[in-house]
C-alpha cells in the first residue's frame, strides 16, 4: 500500500520554525510506522532525525504523535493509520530536531519521586520476601517504560511545564504501594505539592496513550487517596 508520510521537520541550524515534510512510501499493511519512517530516512532524506532503539515496544524511545495521538512508532501498524500518516514530536518538551525532543525535564521529574526502594532495616534472611498478593498491589505500575507518551498527552502538562506528570506519579505509585519500601510518606509529601498529583484533571489521555496499557488514572487516583489518608 502507498502512504503519504507528513512529518514535522525542524533543524535548529537552518529553520526558524518547524515545517511539514511530505514523503510517499510503499509499505505492507503489517509494517509499523517506524518502518515507514526508516524508509524515509534510509532511502529519501537521510537528514530525518528520530529516536529508536529496540524497535519492539520495550525501550520506549520512539514515542511520538501519530495522527494526532501519542503512541510508539514501533507499535502502530500502517494498516491502522490510513492513506496519510501525520507524525509530530511529543508535545510539551523542548524540541531538539525533527522528531527528537529533550527528555531531561521529564527524567528530572522521574528522579524527583525517588524511584528506588528505600529501606534501611536489615532483613531477617538474605533477601526481602514479599507475598504474591503484596506484589500484585502495584503490579500494573511496574510496566512503565518511561516513554513519556502519558505525560506529553496531558493537557495539565501542556499548560504547566512544572506539573510532575502522570509518568512520575506512576513511578511513585510503584514504590508507595510496595510493602518493603519505607519512604511512602516522603513520596506522598512530594506529590502533595501544588505542582504534584492535584494538577491531574482526570482527562484520561494518559490511559489512552500508554503503550503498556497501564491504568494510569487509576494509579493517580490511588495516590490521591493515599495522600488524603496519610498526610
Amino acid at each position: 500500500m502507498r502512504v503519504k508520510m507528513r512529518i514535522r521537520r525542524f533543524n535548529p541550524e537552518k529553520d526558524s520554525k518547524p515545517w511539514w515534510g511530505e514523503y510517499e512510501v510503499e509499505v505492507e499493511p503489517t509494517d509499523r510506522v517506524l518502518d515507514a519512517l526508516h524508509q524515509v530516512k534510509w532511502y529519501q532524506d537521510g537528514t530525518l532525525t528520530l529516536r529508536r532503539s529496540c524497535a519492539h515496544g520495550i525501550c520506549g524511545s520512539d514515542a511520538m504523535v501519530i495522527n494526532g495521538r501519542n503512541a510508539l512508532a514501533c507499535k502502530v501498524l500502517m494498516r491502522d493509520v490510513g492513506k496519510v500518516c501525520v507524525v509530530e514530536p511529543l508535545r510539551g518538551l523542548p524540541l531538539i530536531k525533527d522528531l527528537v525532543v529533550d527528555m531531561e525535564p521529564f527524567f528530572a521529574k522521574y528522579r524527583a519521586v525517588m524511584p528506588w526502594l528505600v529501606n534501611d532495616e536489615i532483613p531477617d534472611h538474605g533477601e526481602r520476601l514479599q507475598s504474591p498478593e503484596a506484589r500484585e498491589r502495584y503490579d500494573d505500575t511496574t510496566k512503565c517504560i518511561l516513554c513519556a507518551a502519558c505525560t506529553t498527552s496531558c493537557p495539565s502538562f501542556w499548560a504547566n511545564e512544572h506539573y510532575i506528570g502522570p509518568a512520575a506519579i506512576v513511578q511513585a505509585h510503584r514504590f508507595i504501594f510496595d510493602d518493603r519500601d519505607r519512604a511512602a510518606v516522603e513520596r506522598l509529601r512530594i506529590l502533595n505539592d501544588r505542582d504534584g498529583v492535584w494538577r491531574c484533571r482526570t482527562v484520561f489521555n494518559c490511559v489512552q496513550a500508554c503503550p503498556r496499557e497501564i491504568d494510569v488514572t487509576k494509579a493517580i487516583g490511588e495516590v490521591k487517596l493515599a495522600i488524603l489518608e496519610a498526610l
Partner: protein, 128 residues
C-alpha cells in the same frame, strides 16, 4: 501569549477520547458560567443607578430573544459542568471506575441532554 496559543493548538488538535472532550467542554462551560456570574453581579449593582437602568436590564434586555438564546447556552453549561464535576469527584474517590470512563461520559451526556431539552423549551417558550 505564545505559550497559551501553543497549548490551545495542542488541546484542539489532540485526538483524545471522551475524557479529553469532556474536559474541554468542562473548561469552556466553566468560563461561560464565570462570565454569566460577572454579568449577574454587575446587573444587580445597577440598582444603584436608579430604577430606570435596573428595570431596563431586567424587564427589557434580559427577556429579549438574544438573551433567551444565551440563557439556553447557560442552562446547558450549568447542567454539563455540574454533571461532569460529579463524574470527576466519583472517579477521584473510586479510581477503579476509570476503566468505564468512556461509557460514564456517554451516560452523563445523555442525562444532561434529557434534562436540557425540556428546560430549553420552557426557556424559549416566550420568544418562539
Amino acid at each position: 501569549m505564545g505559550a497559551l496559543v501553543e497549548t490551545l493548538r495542542y488541546v484542539i488538535s489532540y485526538r483524545g477520547t471522551e475524557g479529553h472532550w469532556a474536559w474541554l467542554l468542562h473548561r469552556l462551560s466553566g468560563l461561560g458560567i464565570a462570565l454569566f456570574l460577572s454579568m449577574h453581579i454587575i446587573s444587580i449593582f445597577s440598582v444603584g443607578l436608579g430604577p430606570r437602568v435596573y428595570n431596563f436590564l431586567h424587564e427589557v434586555l434580559y427577556v429579549s430573544a438574544p438573551a433567551k438564546v444565551l440563557e439556553v447556552f447557560l442552562i446547558f453549561g450549568v447542567l454539563f459542568h455540574a454533571a461532569n464535576g460529579m463524574r470527576i469527584i466519583v472517579i477521584d474517590f473510586f479510581p477503579g471506575l476509570g476503566k468505564y470512563q468512556r461509557t460514564i461520559v456517554r451516560i452523563e451526556l445523555l442525562v444532561v441532554i434529557l434534562v436540557f431539552i425540556p428546560a430549553a423549551i420552557i426557556t424559549l417558550q416566550g420568544v418562539l
